[in-house]
Amino acid sequence: MARAVARCRPQVVAAYPISPQTHIVEGLSDLVRTGALERCDFMLVESEFGAMSACIGASAAGVRSYTATASQGILFMAEALFNASGLGLPIVMTVANRAIGAPINIWNDHSDAMAMRDSGWIQLFAASNQEAVDLHVQAFAIAEQLSLPVMVCMDGFVLTHAVEEVEVPDQPDVDAFLPSFVPRQVLDPADPVSIGAMVGPEAFAEVKYLMHATHLRALDEVPRVAADFAERFGRGGPGLVSPYRTEDADVVVVALGSVLGSLREVVDELRHSGTRVGVLGITCFRPWPTEAVRAALVGASRVIVVERAFAVGAGSIVGQSTRLAVAGTSTRVYDVVAGLGGRPVTRASLRGLVDDVLADRIDADRLHFLDLHTAVVEAELARAGPD
């Protein structure tokens, strides 16, 4: 991963340790020290808030900037995340997705990135390490084209600590794909600009509207960059979504991240036994690709949303967005939380889930926790319940 990021020639990398992203910036540190990554300033900052702030400064000074974080770290930089997107700075950040405490937990789920879903960043989710590599290269292109920051989310430990074969694009190819960064506005003594002015009620809504409009433009830009990437590198860029056997599917499972590999296997097995099931991977979660999701879900009578996070007290996050895409149809949506805090999401469980939905053992529109130890929670609820 470090090598893939290095091929994009970032000029400022801000690093602050947090598991499980740390080895990416460690790798970059080595690459800078050995001179493999030239003209790059590797900053050891005092916090994630400092890391994002340094990237903001560097990006505003006109250089390609990168950092990586996870979990508590992304929360600690939350204020700066909104600032980076509001200022339109094309920073790229890896999020090695990890749960958020309390209780403290260092393992994988998507609570961190989901907590920042409305921070104004483009959010791309990688299904595999190869995709993570490819998405980083694309992220810089998308970010700089739109002048918006992009986070590339990859499942902590599940992907970040897996050793798998990955093709890292060659430097000349990346150079050709990713031209030098030309900032939209830059701190330059020869042409002084004020960046970050205070905007009052008379113009704030307009600024936010324009930001939304840029995000909607990303719905065209993300697939365009993915197609360009595929053309140059010969690997299919997933673009906004990656449908798998959804064409004639009666049941479609919607998911993000590394669980997609397992889901595709499960789909193959179930197809073998005659169940018309497919998977829709969401690569681009922000902006939310309503049209692309709708196109893939048309024809499905049941949609199962499997996600590694949820909105406490409200329900499914991805499920709510998915409902936008099937609005006005009779499609039933099943909201499933799986893999919280590093619990493995196994193929066996996913197979069981699809069976349960088909057999109506699970209700639609009600949050379902996969592999929940029901005895434990029921005992606790009984103990803590009303006298």
């Binding site: 400022v12 005092e46 890391a51 702030s53 340094a54 903001i56 400064g57 700066a80 701190l187 003594p189």
Partner: protein, 344 residues
């Protein structure tokens, strides 16, 4: 570059009249082609010490860098009154990000300049005391220990004035703020709390630390010039009276600042790599009463129910500072005249 007519009143100062000096010794501000980094039309209050300090700091830094400079600003009065969109008072490249991250943003700018071979472009960061001693301290300490090539300037008005005069870690003992009311047995801010950021900065052993006030503007310019002649992390702490927050008359800003130094409450000194290298001796020592009585935030110490005990405590603190820095010019600490002190 636009210029403006500048009225320079020097009432009650001991500075030589600028026009009597040779051209090379005249202040940056007296120069008709000064950069005017923060130009007129901003929304600062009448008598604002901060905007006065900022103008002198930035114009001096612009001269020292031959105009090759960018600035980073924390959230606060200076940011709010200078950039009401779509207007901006800044004639220098200026970046505002957040309240607590100006040092880290400035470090990032410096890193970008270094990585892209533009080290000739220098970075000056500015914040109020809240953004410096409280919410920004972690980032500032990081900037210091990495020795990033940034001059960080704190305009210290001893409270959160932008949000309505709340107590900060730089608010002095007994001072009334909206969160330390003049009520109860120990009215105003508690004693023995708060942070002395110049000393904290010195503990990082950075190349340069200095204090200044807006009453000693030539001194301020000199210290900025000296700071810009160095590389690495540098820190300048400027006392800037705030008529609104201090309850002082707008026309007394300079006088209050001067009394802060002449009473020993705010020592002027310079330090390099953690060692004090110069202090500005007190010319005419005054009791702290003279300083306190000009400010409504200390009104509860006088009036109908005076608190001479608290005034005595403030006096004792001032006496300690005078002894510590040798401000009466009779100790070894007061070294030979060096650029940037009034001792010349």
């Amino acid at each position: 570059m636009t210029t403006q007519e500048l009225k320079l009143y020097q009432v009650g100062t001991y500075a030589a009249g600028n026009r009597l000096l040779p051209v090379e010794d005249r202040s940056v501000q007296s120069c008709p082609d000064r950069s005017n980094a923060i130009t007129s039309g901003h929304r600062a209050c009448q008598g604002c010490g901060e905007v006065l300090g900022a103008r002198y700091v930035l114009d001096a830094a612009m001269r020292a860098t031959d105009g090759n400079m960018v600035t980073v600003n924390a959230t606060g009065c200076l940011e709010v009154f200078s950039t009401p969109y779509p207007e901006s008072s800044w004639q220098v490249p200026w970046l505002h990000s957040l309240f607590g991250n100006a040092p880290a943003v400035a470090s990032g700018v410096a890193a970008a300049l270094r990585a892209s071979g533009r080290q000739d472009t220098r970075v000056v960061a500015q914040a109020g005391d809240g953004g410096t001693v409280d919410i920004g301290l972690g980032a500032l300490s990081g900037m210091f220990e990495r020795d990033d090539d940034v001059l960080f300037v704190c305009y210290d008005n001893q409270g959160y004035m932008n949000t309505g005069v709340q107590r900060s870690g730089a608010t002095p003992g007994a001072a009334r703020t909206s969160t330390t009311a003049a009520l109860g047995p120990t009215p105003g801010n508690a004693f023995g709390q708060g942070k002395n950021l110049p000393l904290i900065a010195m503990a990082h052993e950075i190349p340069y630390v200095a204090t200044a006030t807006v009453a000693n503007l030539r001194d301020l310019e000199d210290k900025v010039t000296r700071a810009m002649s160095m590389r690495g992390a540098r820190y300048l702490h400027v006392l800037v009276p705030c008529p609104l927050g201090w309850g002082s008359a707008a026309h007394d800003t300079i006088r209050v600042a001067r009394l802060a130094t002449e009473s020993g409450i705010f020592p002027l000194f310079e330090a390099e790599r953690g060692v004090v290298t110069a202090v500005s001796p007190i010319r005419h020592r005054v009791p702290v009463d003279d300083y306190l009585r000009l400010q409504g935030r200390y009104a509860h110490l006088f009036g109908d129910h005076p608190r001479p005990d608290l005034v005595a405590r403030i006096q004792a603190d001032a006496d300690r500072a005078i002894a510590r820095f040798g401000l009466l010019g009779d100790t070894d600490t007061d070294t030979d005249a060096t650029p940037g002190t009034e001792a010349r």
